[in-house]
Symmetry: C2
Subunit: 337 residues, 2 copies
Amino acid sequence: MKISEIGEFGLIESIKKDCVTSLQGVIKGIGDDCAVFHSSSGRVLLLTTDMLVEDIHFLRNTITPYRLGRKAVAVNLSDIAAMGGTPLIALISLAISAQTEVEEIQELYRGMREICGLYGVDIIGGDTVASPNNMIINVSLIGDANQQEVLYRSGARPGDRIYLTGTVGDSSAGLSILKHEISPQDSLRGHFIKAHNEPEPLIKTGKVVAGSRLASAMIDLSDGLLSDLAHICEESRVGALLFRDKIPLSKELKSLAAHAGFDPLDFALSGGEDYVLLVTVPPAKTRDFERVCKKESVYPLFQVGEIQEAKGIRIRHEDGSVEELAHKGFDHFSHPW
Amino acid sequence: MKISEIGEFGLIESIKKDCVTSLQGVIKGIGDDCAVFHSSSGRVLLLTTDMLVEDIHFLRNTITPYRLGRKAVAVNLSDIAAMGGTPLIALISLAISAQTEVEEIQELYRGMREICGLYGVDIIGGDTVASPNNMIINVSLIGDANQQEVLYRSGARPGDRIYLTGTVGDSSAGLSILKHEISPQDSLRGHFIKAHNEPEPLIKTGKVVAGSRLASAMIDLSDGLLSDLAHICEESRVGALLFRDKIPLSKELKSLAAHAGFDPLDFALSGGEDYVLLVTVPPAKTRDFERVCKKESVYPLFQVGEIQEAKGIRIRHEDGSVEELAHKGFDHFSHPW
């Protein structure tokens, strides 16, 4: 059945059920001019929004609508995680062709509702409009946090140690596989596609890090390690040194790199969409920080470098030599669209 | 200069200045994973979002980027007005081709910042991404209100009088002129284009209506009088009767209709984007309501019909005959895109 057959309001009716499940603070969900929401006293609100454009951020033939729905929400949840917050409510805007199958949109919303349910998030509003070409998904997410615990990009200081909460590079290798730029071993294909299509937002990890009150800055890796570390450096007015042998790579990425003949560091440094957290911690607090992470089962945790006073990002090779790195993260406008 | 020449971060730098001007409650604006915001205790939050798609909601050759920016925010402000709220902060997502002129986007943001400034709204976050085709603008707006004063669509009861806070039909006549479907008198052209391109959100009116605590329901007319009244009827489980001779038409619309040979009621009933408020008031309270509106300079104000128990929307003609009206408002998916 095409959306043009059931119309805008029929479509909204078919997707709005089960959007609000937690009821915490939600006074009015979908179905009025605005949603109405009550925030907890003494907490600050966190707001984030991401727009996903078909053929730029996703290809409809490489991800199921259910997985796309989950991912669209997951990348926003990751932003809340990166501030140490608790996600609460979501607003979803969708532009789609009227010739789209209703079932595709229902699957998309099933994915969005499912991941929202897993993290206690209510979908309380949105907009559903026609698109003459590509599908566009915009998710706005609202969370809250204890004001004293929010971690900004601007808090890193020279000497702080840089941590990553997971391996990097698998997601962008997955994208290259989906785009037929790399041909993987059959046994590894699923691993990389999953890394790209099914990111898990590290909400619990973000809360443990923020709640410890030991870290100085945090960001989630969406544009790529170099690019996101550059955001931290810019906002904190510092530079950074990465230790090449400490950058965490999955055994699958090492195996794929050997098989296909590329340097896995290229994906690890410049690939995007890892959605692990990068955390900086003052040197006097690293021991307590690692202890808290261990106690709260934040695992894995890798120390990959340190913040320095000199601007720019450098990498120290295994032989001790230090190389200045050019900024090679993702820029949405570096392509000639 | 093309956006591809300055890149994503160059573009963000060039538009983020002056986005936060009120500083009320804003702890962190653009430049981190999330914006951070403090809401006032004892107030509820209002959330609304609208997605505007080029060639569906706007034509880039019929509105300047500055006016488009103002309008994109105005239609969201109108949703806050329709609940009786105060707008506070905005998140703006934009998808655009890298071949777009930077100046066009700066003009768009100038319009958005200017209308935000007029209504005390801070732009504290957003997302800026590439689009392979059309321009897409998504605005999410957050406001707040006194919980006891929020007016929903669901509060209308049989016998309540229906009010409009302005004339209807001019905006959709303007759209027809822009689409060359109607050829107006030269002297009237500007009036209708302005009605379509420069809607003014009725924030103050919405607050007076809600603050009076005399109204039972409110909605802003975005889809068209019939369609939006149908939303009120559906959510309130009632029907409505409109008085044909009371539907407020501008003298310009009457003149255009006589000139071009159409029934102005068609635009007034089924045209969209009027952005006036439709308010229902219990009969025992209409006198006080009109008195408060007069005192607070809410003008004009038209009583156009009444809520009835029988479902459906009817119109009473000048000769006293009553006609059942089919629902002819705007459905985004009624076109074969």
